[in-house]
Structure formats: C-alpha cells, structure tokens
C-alpha cells in the first residue's frame, strides 16, 4: 500500500516535470513547475524529512513561483516562439536525448549499487546531541556541528543580492502603487501580516526541538514582505539602499560576531560555550531569519528593477 503511494507520487512528479518542460505556453510551464514544488514537499514527507518539506513548500513552491511568475510577466514582450519539440532533424534534439538517457542510465546504475555506510556520521550526531544546545538533530547539524556550511551559505545569499544590486538602474525607483490598489486587499493584509509573522517566529522557535528553523522562517517572512509589496504598501525602507544592505548583512554579522568571540579565549572559530549554546544558536537563528527573509525579498525587488527598459515598451 505504501509503495503504491510512493509510486503514484513519483509518476505525478515525473509527469509534472515533463509537462513543465514541454508545454507550449510558458505560463503553464511555470504553473506546472510550482505544482511540482508542492508535490515535491509531499515526497519529502514520505522520505521522513519534514524540515525539507517545510522548506520546499515555502521556498520551492512559494518564493520560486513568485519570482518566476514575476519574471514571466516582464518577459512577455520578448520574442517568444513556442518550442518545436520533435525537431528530429536537429542535432540538438539527439544530443539532448542522448545526454538525458545517458544521465538516467549512469545514475540508475549508481543508485542500484548496494551502499555500505563507511562512516556512521549519524551515530556521532546522536552521541553529541546533548552538548549541542538544541534537541532537534537537523538544527544541531546546521548551526553547531556544521555551522561553517550555514555561515558560508548566508554569505552566498548576500553575494547573490549584491550582484543583483549592481545590475539595477541607478536612477530608477519602482512605483508600487501601480500593482494592486485594492482597499479590501489592504485591509486583509493588515490582518494577515501579524499571523504570517507569528508563523515565521513560531517556526524559528520550534526549530530547536522539532522540525522548523531559520530557513523556513526566513522564507515565510520573505513571502510576507512580497505580499506587502504587491498590494502597494511600499515601505520607505525598501527604497533606501543603505537599509537594504544593512538588512542583508545583519544575520551574517551576528553569526560572525558570535563565532569570533571564542577566539578571544583561545578557542577555535564558531565554538559555542556549552552553557550558552542554546541561547546563542537562537540568537544566530533570529538574525538569519530576518536576513534571509530580507535578502529573498530584495532579490525579488531587484529583479523588478533589472528589467525597467521592458516596462516602457509594454503598456
């Protein structure tokens, strides 16, 4: 019975993937991709990975969907010829087919090999979990055992936002009011925003003992910011480049600061004192949540101003 559910999910997944790549309309293609993100979050549940399921639902289906749809609206004016799928005479088709099947065969062969765990890292995690300051293993791995990964990940996010910033028009200020000047929407959002914010903070708080954490909370926060922007409740903060940048650096700065304090006592970078590990992790996570939310929102905002030339041409 369980296998049946799994196989159905896989069939839907592969079907949606094929549809999202090969439908004629680009809009449908994006829609199928968003759907695929939602199905994928169910798959993560079946894989016993509720943390990833939460992140996939908020990021894969939510934020990526918003970004793609927004880009799609601005790419309308470009020459968009629907793909000719079965161009059997084109060498490109055969190259693609060959590479696709090659990848499937090679990976399939690799997956079918029986796997023998050489180093039982998961045992080390459960042995040291008590010292990490949190009781949820994934949060312990992300913010204690492998905190370098997370630190560099936030640095990558800041880098992406900085690159996006260099591509925007300096003399351009996107006007928010043109989007959805709807009174009802404004009123609803004012009611919804505290709830979304609360969900985000709950995810953050829950992360120390159960599935949840800074990434999921940040993604939810970003969606709240995007909603704010879409109904035209534009804050002055988003206009001001300095505030924009400070928001990005905030999480990284807290992380580096907390990581650097042990250096004064002659201990390695990013060692938390055992007694305060839980509080420090929560502090870092709070900074990360705010920064991740702000960076994802900024990327959305900056991708809008990257295509300003387009706006003048399209009515």
């Amino acid at each position: 019975m369980n296998e049946l559910i799994d196989l159905t999910l896989i069939c839907i997944l592969l079907g949606l993937a094929t549809l999202s790549l090969f439908t004629q309309s680009l809009f449908r293609s994006v829609m199928f991709f968003i759907l695929l993100g939602l199905i994928l979050s169910l798959v993560w549940i079946r894989l016993d990975a509720p943390d990833i399921a939460l992140a996939e639902a908020a990021i894969g289906a939510g934020i990526t969907g918003i970004l793609l749809l927004d880009a799609l609206a601005h790419l309308r004016a470009t020459s968009n010829t629907p793909p000719q799928l079965l161009q059997l005479k084109q060498p490109r088709f055969w190259l693609a087919l060959l590479s696709g099947t090659g990848v499937i065969l090679a990976l399939g062969l690799a997956v079918s090999e029986p796997l023998s765990p050489v180093v039982a890292l998961d045992l080390k995690v459960s042995e040291n979990l008590a010292e990490s300051g949190v009781t949820h293993p994934i949060t312990a791995i992300l913010l204690n055992f492998r905190s370098y990964d997370t630190l560099l990940e936030v640095a990558v996010l800041v880098l992406a936002a900085l690159v996006a910033l260099t591509l925007r028009q300096s003399d351009e200020h996107p006007v928010a009011n043109e989007f959805l000047p709807n009174q009802l929407l404004h009123a609803c959002l004012k009611l919804f925003f505290p709830m979304i914010f609360l969900v985000s903070m709950y995810l953050l708080w829950a992360g120390s003992t159960q599935p949840g954490g800074a990434f999921q909370a940040g993604a939810v926060l970003a969606s709240a910011f995007v909603l704010f922007y879409l109904v035209g409740l534009k804050t002055q903060l988003a206009q001001n480049e300095h505030y924009l940048k400070r928001g990005w650096i905030f999480g990284l700065a807290i992380f580096v600061l907390v990581g650097a304090v042990p250096l004064l006592q002659g201990q390695p970078f990013l060692t938390y004192p055992d007694a305060h590990a839980g509080v420090l992790i929560l502090l870092i996570e709070l900074g990360l949540t705010l920064s991740i939310g702000w960076i994802l929102f900024s990327l959305f905002l900056l991708s809008q101003s990257a295509s300003t030339f387009q706006k003048k041409d399209t009515p």
Binding site: L13, L21, I59, P83, F93, S99, G100
Partner: protein
C-alpha cells in the same frame, strides 16, 4: 524495494528530464526550470540513497539538502535578474548563439 530507494530512482528520472530539457530548450526561462529540476533530482537522490542504505532517516544529508534548497533559490533569483536584464537590453529571451541564422 524500500520507499527511500523508490524516491532515489525518482530523483534519477528528474535529473534525466532536467538534462534533456536543459540542452533542448533555448528559451532561458525554460532552461532555468530544467536546471531547477536537475537540482531537485539531485536532492532526492542524495537523501533517498543515503537513507535506503540505513533504513532510517539520516539527518546529515537532510541538513545538507536544506542548505542546498536555500542556495538554489538564491541562484534561481540571481539567474532571473540576469535573464531579465538581458531581455531588457536585447529584447530576446535566448542567447545569441541560439537565435538561429537570422
């Protein structure tokens, strides 16, 4: 076959479709979607394969994938910024070498 292994094979399928689409399409947005499919397939293989070896949830690949998803969305957003800038400057959503002999 355990359900972990089934999803690892599903990830293999996603990777194949992703590579196929990435090479076939010339529209940059479609390529980006194909690239994301490839990424999702990789995540599925990573978690599915390691858990099928142990028969229980393995938290280390899960944490790695969680980091990967966030980096992937940042990369997607950056790619979209580049695509939109490119489209705004050239009025094309394809690269010059894919625009045919016109």
């Amino acid at each position: 076959m355990s359900s972990y292994l089934i999803f690892a094979y599903g990830g293999v399928g996603l990777c194949g479709i992703g590579v196929f689409g990435f090479i076939l399409h010339s529209h940059l947005l479609r390529r980006l979607i194909a690239f994301n499919l490839l990424g999702s397939g990789t995540f599925l293989i990573l978690v599915g394969l390691s858990q099928s070896g142990r028969g229980q949830p393995d938290y280390i690949p899960q944490a790695l994938v969680l980091t990967g998803i966030v980096v992937a969305v940042a990369a997607t957003a950056l790619a979209l910024v580049l695509i939109r800038r490119w489209a705004a400057l050239t009025k094309h959503a394809t690269l010059p070498e894919d625009q045919g002999p016109s």
